[in-house]
Amino acid sequence: MILGLPDITVFAVGGAILLCIILLLIWGFTFPEEKEE
């Protein structure tokens, strides 16, 4: 229990947010560099 929340809530919500951040970081780092016109 963290901050009065059951573990399942902490893992589900925290995990989802972390996953989103990781995926968005991957998008950023793999974005192709190109010359702007």
Binding site: L5, T9, F31
Partner: protein, 524 residues
């Protein structure tokens, strides 16, 4: 219910200053407008922060503050997914639509989503008319909800009559939107976005601390109902819980992430970014900014529920008053150590609501003036005439939605959800299939749009008047829309390779610089 005395005076001054700043931006922006592209897309010149905040502000509606805190108050942690889905919609819009649409717009002069449809599907009349009308109708439904939310704030602050509140807000927003177009909307969006971000970060700790801290709030919530601290409500539970079961949350996720990303007033913004390289970090920046704001607001809603259970709202909530709708307002009124904070808070809520309202009005105006007036009715109209028609339409959109908002329909909340459901059912499939499936055809797009709209209304009516469904009604109409697109596209003639190449159609996210057909053409 309303604030009183000295508090009103300070709030009035703060709001007056805020309105003057907005109008000032409108006047300044009006001097930059030389063409319809300037008016509709700010000359495709938005820098990274202006663009990213414009996307966040377009999504960030009255529901963000008023609705989100109310939702947190009513459903506790199972409702927290809304705070992940909505910020994700900004990222989804930029990643899946932004990179391609921005480039297509720049190379082919597309100014609106309808322009893109017409180029990709090589159909200028039926699809254009249908998508323009759908876009205007959906935006108007959404606008009524926004004006009503603005009115809730002004009534709370000043104790004004509903119509007076609407008139004040309507005049200010319409003034800067009519004269300044997207330049004004994006720059006021920047101001509104900054007020919102720093305001919520400043105000939320007061409420959370006053309620006794996060651990105490969660403990109290668990005492009220153990389900309020779980990540979702149990499946197949009673109707009161039905909106946060795992299956409902799945449909809710699709609705918010994809539906909001497809909303014309959100999607149009990707045409206005100066460079496609902004789409590299804009998704995570928009996601994180919005996530922090939304999470804090949701936690405040839960805090107010805990405050109510602890008897901390005595003297703030009028007898018999509904707390959920005004959760955040009551929370700050009870917790604020200073009337200045309360005044600031009124400006924060107004910023959130107004930032979507202006974008919606501009979308209605530009859709009519460009997609219907310029392209279908008067192709020879001058730039000046197009801008003038846009301005008249923004004015008309304001008048119509204000009249509707004076007597808001009883089912307002349902109408707002219906509005997002319609955006998902009408635009998601033609947009995604258009960008990623080379076999998608104009007939497929028209039928998926029509069937999506009709079945969304049908399932919505069934959900509202007959019986509740296990998932949000728009997920069923989305399935119908997908089926229509696939079946009709496969039995009709494929679009030309030239149109498909020009619009970077295919299973890739990053468009290449020179499509094959263009290279071949230039060789010829």
């Amino acid at each position: 219910m309303a604030l009183a005395g000295e508090s009103t005076l300070i709030t009035l001054v703060l709001i007056a200053v805020y309105f003057v700043v907005l109008l000032g931006i409108g006047v300044w922006a009006s001097k930059k407008i030389k063409s319809s592209e300037d008016y509709m897309l700010a000359g495709r010149s938005l820098g990274f922060w202006l663009f990213t905040l414009l996307i966040v502000c377009s999504i960030c509606s009255g529901m963000t503050l008023v609705g989100t805190s109310g939702f947190g108050f009513a459903s506790g942690w199972p409702g927290i997914w809304e705070q992940i889905f909505v910020p994700l919609s900004a990222a989804f819009c930029i990643i899946f639509f932004g990179s391609k649409l921005n480039k297509i717009g720049r190379k082919n002069g597309c100014m609106t989503v309808v322009d893109y449809f017409s180029l990709r599907y090589e159909n200028t009349r039926e699809l254009r008319a249908l998508s323009a009308l759908a876009s205007i109708a959906v935006s108007l439904v959404y606008l009524v909800g926004q004006y009503t939310a603005i009115s809730i704030v002004l009534i709370w602050v000043f104790g004004l009559e509903h119509w007076q509140a609407l008139l004040i807000a309507g005049v200010i927003i319409t003034a800067y939107t009519v004269i300044g177009g997207l330049y004004a909307v994006s720059w006021t969006g920047l101001v509104q976005g900054l007020i919102l971000i720093f305001g919520v970060i400043l105000v939320a700790p007061f409420i959370l601390t006053y309620a006794g801290g996060l651990e105490h709030i969660n403990t109290v919530l668990a005492t009220i109902d153990p389900n309020l601290v779980m990540p979702w409500f149990p499946s197949g539970s009673t109707a009161a819980y039905a909106y946060c079961t795992p299956e409902y949350l799945f449909s809710f996720g699709v609705l918010l992430i994809v539906g909001l990303a497809c909303a014309p007033h959100v999607l149009s913004n990707v045409f206005a970014a100066r460079k496609t390289s902004y789409f590299k970090w804009a998704p995570i920046v928009a996601f994180l900014i919005y996530l922090v704001i939304m999470l804090l607001v949701k936690l405040c809603g839960m805090a107010v529920r805990s405050m109510q259970a602890d008897g901390l709202l005595a003297g703030v909530v009028p007898e018999g008053g509904k707390v959920a709708d005004f959760a955040l307002m009551y929370g700050i009124q009870a917790a604020s150590p200073s009337i200045l904070i309360t005044g600031l808070f009124a400006v924060i809520v107004l910023s959130a609501v107004m930032s979507t309202t202006d974008r919606l009005m501009l979308t209605v105006g530009t859709t009519f003036s460009w997609d219907i007036f310029k392209t279908m009715l008067r192709p020879k109209a001058s730039e000046r005439q197009v801008v003038l028609v846009s301005q008249i339409c923004v004015l008309l959109a304001a008048v119509i939605s204000l009249i509707l908002a004076i007597n808001p329909p009883e089912m307002l909340a349902f109408l707002i959800w219906l509005g997002i459901g319609l955006m998902l059912s009408a635009f998601a499939v033609p947009m995604i299939a258009g960008l990623y499936w080379r076999r998608a055809t104009a007939a497929g797009a028209i039928s998926s749009m029509l069937i999506g709209l009709i079945t969304c209304l049908a399932f919505g009516a069934y959900y509202n008047f007959v019986e509740k469904l296990p998932m949000h009604f728009s997920i069923y109409s989305l399935a119908c829309s997908i089926a229509a697109m696939v079946i009709v596209s496969l039995i009709t003639k494929k679009n030309s390779e030239k149109a498909l190449d020009l619009t970077y159609t295919g299973m890739y996210l990053h468009p290449k610089d020179k499509p094959n057909s263009l290279t071949e053409e230039s060789k010829e």
